[in-house]
């Protein structure tokens, strides 16, 4: 027996048909709390997208600020190339995706459709940028990156990027961790990110630079090879400052200290007429007055 209500063919009995179907199919109004939950969830997701977007932006900012801007003239031909190579593509992609997700969830809320796309995107962008700057200022960018470095083996943090920029043996640039200091033989052993351990002769390095070097510490070196000496000859050693940079002012400050150190070293090289070292460092003359 067919228990489905007969389809009404008369408009007058539309109500009867509808009510009969409601009865037959046991249709009940969906609970209000479900709609409330849905709307709150959408707003919650929108908020989460903005927060995560802000966090992604803060990591991008931290990564970009700490990838070696203070010495880009040494490591790269120009600022544009440095920017391209240091650009935190993954984080900016994530930022864009989260912004888009925020736009999508906002539009799905009860009144979200009333606002134009431009307003939603613009306000989302403004809020995440503000959030990103606040997170970066609060050190969350650095902490997030440190956490990811610990748990994601393939993640390349800003610090590693900076070190890889400094490792250009063909141009006389070296970087790495000091594994041994031999003051008697005036030698320094440095293990670089490429796995190689190189030994540098430090007889030309001023005392104040040697004093700053510690075993286990990080160094950036200008060095040249010599036919008469088997080891590399260190011309100038920088001990990069540890600690994350948070603002452009921080970058500027660090850059000034490097400039001052290079200028001082330039004077010393000229005084001592150290041709090999002058040769390796002077092409970096953009940074040296």
């Amino acid at each position: 027996m067919n228990n489905t209500p007969q389809k009404e063919t008369n408009h007058d009995s539309l109500a009867k048909g509808v009510l009969a179907r409601i009865e037959h199919d046991a249709i009940k109004p969906t609970s209000k709390s479900l709609f409330v939950f849905k709307n709150f969830s959408l707003w919650g997701l929108w908020g989460l997208a903005l927060i995560l977007g802000g966090l992604a932006l803060s990591v991008a900012l931290f990564s970009e600020l700490n990838s070696g801007w203070e010495s880009y003239e040494i490591t790269h031909p120009n600022a544009f190339i440095f920017f391209i190579q240091s650009f935190p593509l993954l984080w900016m992609f994530l930022f864009a995706m989260l912004l888009f997700f925020g736009l999508y969830t906002f539009r799905k809320t009860k009144t979200g459709y009333r606002y134009s796309l431009l307003i939603i995107v613009f306000s989302g962008l403004v809020l995440t940028i503000i959030g990103g700057l606040l997170f970066q200022g609060g050190g969350f960018g650095a902490q997030t990156e440190a956490l990811l470095s610990r748990f994601l083996p393939y993640y390349v943090p800003a610090l590693h990027m900076r070190e890889s920029f400094w490792l250009q043996p063909e141009r006389g640039l070296y970087s790495g961790i000091v594994t041994a200091i031999d003051t008697e033989r005036m030698e320094l052993s440095v293990q670089s990110a490429d796995g190689a351990t190189r030994t540098f002769l430090t007889d030309r390095i001023p005392e104040e630079q040697i004093e700053n070097i510690t075993e286990g510490g990080r160094v950036h070196l200008f060095a040249t090879s010599s036919e008469s000496v088997e080891r590399l000859i260190a011309c100038h050693i920088l001990t990069p400052e540890e600690g994350g940079l948070k603002t452009l002012a921080d970058v500027g400050g660090r850059r000034q200290r490097i400039l001052d150190a290079l200028e001082k070293r330039a004077g010393q090289l000229i005084d001592t007429d150290d041709i090999p070292c002058e040769t390796i460092m002077m092409p970096r003359g953009r940074m040296m007055r």
Binding site: L14, A15, L19, P29, K110, Y113, L117
Partner: protein, 192 residues
């Protein structure tokens, strides 16, 4: 019964949630306007109209608790009606058919309205049919907005709620719809 004594939409919703048979009052109130709206969107077969109406009211009943009093109930119901009609076209893979001939007066009023300003001039008594055909030939999104604005007499904020588009976009869409309509009317060669 005077309009003042008629229960409000809110009252009817409350009653329907308590006793489902009271939902028939909502059906009675909106059956005719929605039926007209569905026809204007391009469904002419009475059986199809009835099917769509039934689906509309089932959905209305099922989602009664979703309705927010900050909205107009009619806008909310029209939104459901709009969606169900579009679903009908998609399921049946048919285009809107028929025309707004029954609304010849409405068409003429529409032409005479301020919003027609900028449109082509012509002999209105001869060309209601021409305008009809031109409206039929419009893309779905333009036809929808013309129907809502000039035949259902919905305000911009109501149209925004029905079509779920930004309030600011309603004016732009109406402007574009009129422009397309004028182009189609020109193609149909209006006699001056």
């Amino acid at each position: 019964m005077s309009q003042e004594n008629e229960p409000s939409d809110q009252d009817l919703i409350r009653l329907s949630l308590i006793e489902k048979n009271s939902f028939s009052m909502i059906i009675a109130r909106y059956e005719e306007p929605l039926s007209r709206y569905i026809r204007r969107l391009g469904v002419q077969n009475p059986e199809d109209i009835l099917d769509i109406l039934q689906e509309i009211f089932i959905n209305v009943y099922r989602n009664l608790n979703e309705f927010d009093a900050s909205f107009k109930f009619s806008s909310w119901v029209y939104r459901i009606a709009h969606n169900e009609t579009i679903n009908f076209f998609r399921k049946r893979r048919v285009r809107p058919e028929g025309h707004l001939a029954e609304n010849g007066e409405n068409i003429l009023k529409f032409i005479e309205s301020e919003e027609w300003r900028g449109g082509p001039s012509f002999d209105t008594s001869l060309n209601a049919e021409v305008i009809n055909e031109a409206i039929d030939a419009l893309d779905e999104k333009y036809r929808e907005i013309i129907v809502l604005r000039f035949f259902e007499h919905k305000e911009y904020d109501e149209i925004s709620d029905i079509l779920k588009i930004p309030t600011g976009s309603v004016g732009t869409l109406i402007h574009r719809a009129k422009k397309r309509l004028f182009e189609k009317i020109d193609i149909n060669k209006i006699a001056l």
